[in-house]
C-alpha cells in the first residue's frame, strides 16, 4: 500500500495514494465567510473548485501561521473532492497492508496514522456553518 505521509502538529498522518489527485503549491485560496474554522476557502484548479481544509484546525489545534512552502494536497475519489493543507509533506512510503489494524502504521520507528478521506468528509459536512470567520 502506497501512502502519502504528511505532518500535522508533529504527528505523522498518511493517506492512500489512490485518493491523491495532485499536490500543488503557489495557488490562491479564496476565503469564504460563514464556513467552519478549518475551511480555509476555495481553490480553483483545472476547471474545478475544491474546498480547502486546514488539517491542524480540523483536528482542533490552532492554525499554524506562516507555514513555509505551504502545499495543498488535492484529493479526488468517488463523487467527492477536497483539498487538505498539512503543516508539511514528508513523502510517499510503501507499507505492507496491515489488515488487522488499519489505523496506525509503524514507519522507521514513527507512528503513521492512516486517514480516510471519507471520514474527514463526513466530519466536515457535519460541522456547523455560520461561525464568524474574520
Amino acid at each position: 500500500m502506497k501512502l502519502l505521509v504528511f505532518k500535522v502538529m508533529n504527528e505523522l498522518f498518511g493517506i492512500e495514494s489512490q485518493y491523491i489527485y495532485r499536490i500543488i503549491d503557489d495557488s490562491k485560496v479564496t476565503p469564504v465567510c460563514l464556513t467552519p474554522e478549518c475551511h480555509e476557502g476555495l481553490l480553483y484548479h483545472r476547471g474545478e473548485v475544491f474546498d480547502v481544509i486546514n488539517l491542524a484546525s480540523f483536528f482542533g489545534y490552532p492554525k499554524k501561521e506562516n507555514i513555509v512552502n505551504e502545499r495543498i494536497i488535492i484529493l479526488k475519489w468517488i463523487n467527492k473532492k477536497m483539498a487538505i493543507v498539512p503543516d508539511d509533506i514528508a513523502g510517499m512510503i510503501w507499507m505492507e497492508d496491515n489488515s488487522e489494524d488499519k489505523a496506525d502504521y509503524n514507519y522507521d520507528g514513527h507512528v503513521v496514522r492512516l486517514l480516510n478521506p471519507d471520514d474527514i468528509w463526513k466530519k466536515l459536512t457535519g460541522l456547523s456553518h455560520g461561525s464568524n470567520k474574520i
Binding site: L34, T35, G47
Partner: protein
C-alpha cells in the same frame, strides 16, 4: 407581446421533430403497413401543427393538417400506403423545414408554387394520388430541392475538453513560474507582451470551459429509447415531449442526473400512466404523455418530469401517515399539500408497505431524492388526481456564464447577478442620515472590520421579495468596499460543503481565474 423567444423555441423544437420524422419515414419505407410507425409519424406532425397554430403560422399548420389526415388513414389501415405516398410525405417534411426556418413565410414565387403543388397533392386521397402516379410515367420527383445542411458541429469526447482545459491552465502557470517574466525590470515592450499573452490565455480558458455545456434537448434525447423500452415492458404507449431544449447545463451535473431520471420515468410509466384501455375509459388518448421540461430561473436549473396518468390520491398518503406513522388529524391538517406529497420521498415511506396504489410510487424514490440532495438540489412532487403527476428537480446553478456585479467586503470577493442590481452608487458623508436603508453584510455575517467606512453600495432588486416586506426590501442598498465591476462569470455549483449556506447561490470564476462568491439576495440574513 414579444414572440421572438417563442418563435426560437418553435424553430428548435420543430427542427428536432422534423429530424425524427425523416428517420421514421426511412423506417416506414421498408415496412409500409407498420401502423405503430405511422402513429409515431402522425405524432411528430401533430406536435409541429400544435405549436404552429399557437403562433398563427397558418401555412405550416394547414400543411401539417393535411399530412396528418394521410397518416391517420395509414395508421388505421383505412388506406394502403405506397412508396409514392411516403415520398410525398418526405416532400412535405422538406417544405415544412423550409417554412419553419422562415417562421412560416414564403419568400419567392417558386416557394409559393411548391407550397400550392404539395397542398393540392395532399388534398387528394392517398389512393387517388398513388393511382395517378402509377399511370404517369416518372416516379414522383421531390417538389423541393432541399439544401444540403452544412456541417457545423463536430462530436468530441468530454475528456478531451478536460484535457484541453488542464493544458491551458498549465500554460498559464508556466508563465507565473518563469523567473525572467516575474522580474520588475522587464522592458515595457516585453511586459506588454506578457500581459497580452496572459489575457489571451485566460480568455481561451474561459471559452474552453463553456464547451462543458450541453443542450437539454440533446440530454433528453438520451432517454427516448429507454422510455420506449420501459413502456413496452408495461404494454403501454408513451409519447415524449421535450420543452426547454435550448437550455444549456453542465455536462457533469446532467451525467449525475441520468440514473435518478430513469427511475422517475420508470415510476411514471409503471404507476402513473394507465393502460390504454383504462385511459380510453377515462376519455384520454390511448397513449400517455411524458413531458420533460427544463427551465432556468435565477441561479437554479429546474427539470420537470410530468406524466398525464392517474395522479396520486392525497387521501391514501394521509391514511398511510395516520396508520404507519401515527400522525394525528391535527398534524395532517397543518401539512401543506406539498408536504403531504413529499412524504413519498422519505425513506420511511419507501420501506413501509403502503397501500397498493401507492407502493409503486414510493419504492426507491427516497434514493432518488437523496442523490439529488447530494448534488445540492431538491426533488418535490405534486399531483392532480386522475390527471397528472409532476416531479420537479431543482438544482443549484449549472455551469454557465452570467454577468454579475463583483465587489469586495474585507478580504472577501462577492458578487450579485447584474439582473438583481438596480443601480450602483457612492456613499457620501451627507448620506449617513439614511443609514437605515443600507445593509452592511459585515454586521450580519461577521466579516471584515465593521468599523471601516464603506463607500459604495449596490441597490438591489429581488426576484422573490421576502413576504410582507416587498416595498421595504426592494431597493435595499448593499454596502461594498470596492466595486470591481460588471464581470462575466463562469458559474459553478457551490458544492456539497457550502450548500448548507443558503446565502450562496454559486461560485463565480472571473476571467482572470479568481474566485468570487455569488450571493442569493433573496436569502440575505
Amino acid at each position: 407581446m414579444d414572440l421572438t423567444k417563442y418563435e426560437k423555441i418553435f424553430s428548435q423544437e420543430s427542427d428536432k421533430y422534423l429530424k425524427e420524422l425523416d428517420d421514421l419515414l426511412l423506417n416506414v419505407e421498408k415496412d409500409l403497413s407498420n401502423q405503430n410507425l405511422w402513429t409515431e409519424i402522425h405524432g411528430k406532425i401533430h406536435s409541429i401543427k400544435g405549436m404552429a397554430r399557437a403562433l398563427s403560422f397558418n401555412r405550416i399548420s394547414d400543411l401539417c393538417h393535411l399530412m396528418e389526415e394521410w397518416c391517420l388513414k395509414f395508421q388505421k389501415g383505412a388506406s394502403a400506403c405506397s412508396a409514392a405516398s411516403v415520398q410525398l410525405i418526405f416532400d412535405g417534411s422538406d417544405i415544412l423545414r423550409s417554412l419553419v426556418s422562415k417562421s412560416g413565410r414564403i419568400e419567392s414565387l417558386d416557394e409559393q408554387k411548391s407550397y400550392n403543388t404539395i397542398i393540392a397533392k395532399f388534398q387528394k386521397s392517398p389512393e387517388e394520388y398513388t393511382e395517378k402516379n402509377r399511370n404517369g410515367a416518372p416516379a414522383p420527383a421531390s417538389v423541393v430541392q432541399p439544401k444540403l445542411a452544412s456541417i457545423d458541429h463536430v462530436k468530441i469526447r468530454y475528456s478531451h475538453i478536460e484535457e484541453l482545459l488542464g493544458l491551458t491552465q498549465e500554460i498559464q502557470l508556466l508563465v507565473k513560474r518563469f523567473p525572467p517574466l516575474l522580474q520588475d525590470n522587464l522592458s515595457a515592450g516585453l511586459k506588454n507582451w506578457v500581459d497580452h499573452y496572459n489575457t489571451l490565455m485566460k480568455t481561451l480558458y474561459f471559452q474552453l470551459a463553456q464547451l462543458r455545456l450541453m443542450s437539454f434537448g440533446d440530454f433528453a434525447d438520451l432517454f427516448q429509447k429507454s422510455i420506449r423500452n420501459i413502456a413496452r415492458e408495461h404494454n403501454k404507449g408513451v409519447n415524449v415531449q421535450v420543452l426547454g431544449s435550448e437550455i444549456q447545463a453542465d455536462i457533469t451535473i446532467l451525467e449525475r442526473l441520468r440514473e435518478p431520471m430513469i427511475h422517475i420515468f420508470r415510476n411514471c410509466i409503471a404507476h402513473g400512466i394507465e393502460s390504454p384501455e383504462e385511459r380510453i375509459g377515462r376519455n384520454k388518448t390511448a397513449e400517455g404523455r411524458i413531458t420533460i421540461e427544463a427551465k432556468s430561473e435565477k441561479e437554479s436549473l429546474y427539470i420537470i418530469i410530468r406524466d398525464d396518468g392517474r395522479g396520486i390520491d392525497k387521501s391514501d398518503i394521509m391514511r398511510h401517515l395516520k396508520e404507519k406513522q401515527s400522525l394525528l388529524d391535527n398534524d395532517l391538517n397543518n401539512m401543506t399539500e406539498e408536504e403531504i406529497f413529499n412524504t413519498i420521498l422519505s425513506p420511511d415511506f419507501s420501506t413501509a408497505k403502503a397501500t397498493s396504489d401507492l407502493s409503486g410510487r414510493g419504492i426507491g424514490m427516497s434514493v432518488v431524492a437523496q442523490t439529488i440532495e447530494y448534488m445540492g438540489g431538491s426533488l418535490s412532487i405534486s399531483s392532480i388526481l386522475g390527471k397528472q403527476t409532476e416531479f420537479t428537480i431543482k438544482l443549484p446553478i449549472s455551469l454557465s456564464v452570467i454577468y454579475a456585479i463583483v465587489f469586495t467586503v474585507g478580504k472577501h470577493t462577492l458578487a450579485v447577478p447584474t439582473l438583481n442590481v438596480q443601480s450602483i452608487g457612492r456613499l457620501y458623508e451627507h448620506s449617513e442620515n439614511n443609514a437605515g436603508l443600507f445593509y452592511d453584510l459585515r454586521k450580519h455575517i461577521g466579516i471584515g472590520d465593521s468599523e471601516k467606512r464603506l463607500s459604495s453600495f449596490l441597490t438591489l432588486k429581488y426576484a422573490n421579495p421576502p413576504a410582507g416586506s416587498e416595498s421595504e426590501m426592494n431597493g435595499l442598498k448593499l454596502l461594498a468596499e470596492t466595486i470591481i465591476g460588471n464581470r462575466p462569470l463562469m458559474v459553478l455549483p457551490v458544492g456539497d460543503c457550502l450548500s448548507k449556506i443558503k446565502l450562496y447561490s454559486g461560485i463565480g470564476i472571473m476571467e482572470n481565474g479568481d474566485i468570487c462568491i455569488l450571493l442569493d439576495v433573496d436569502n440575505l440574513p
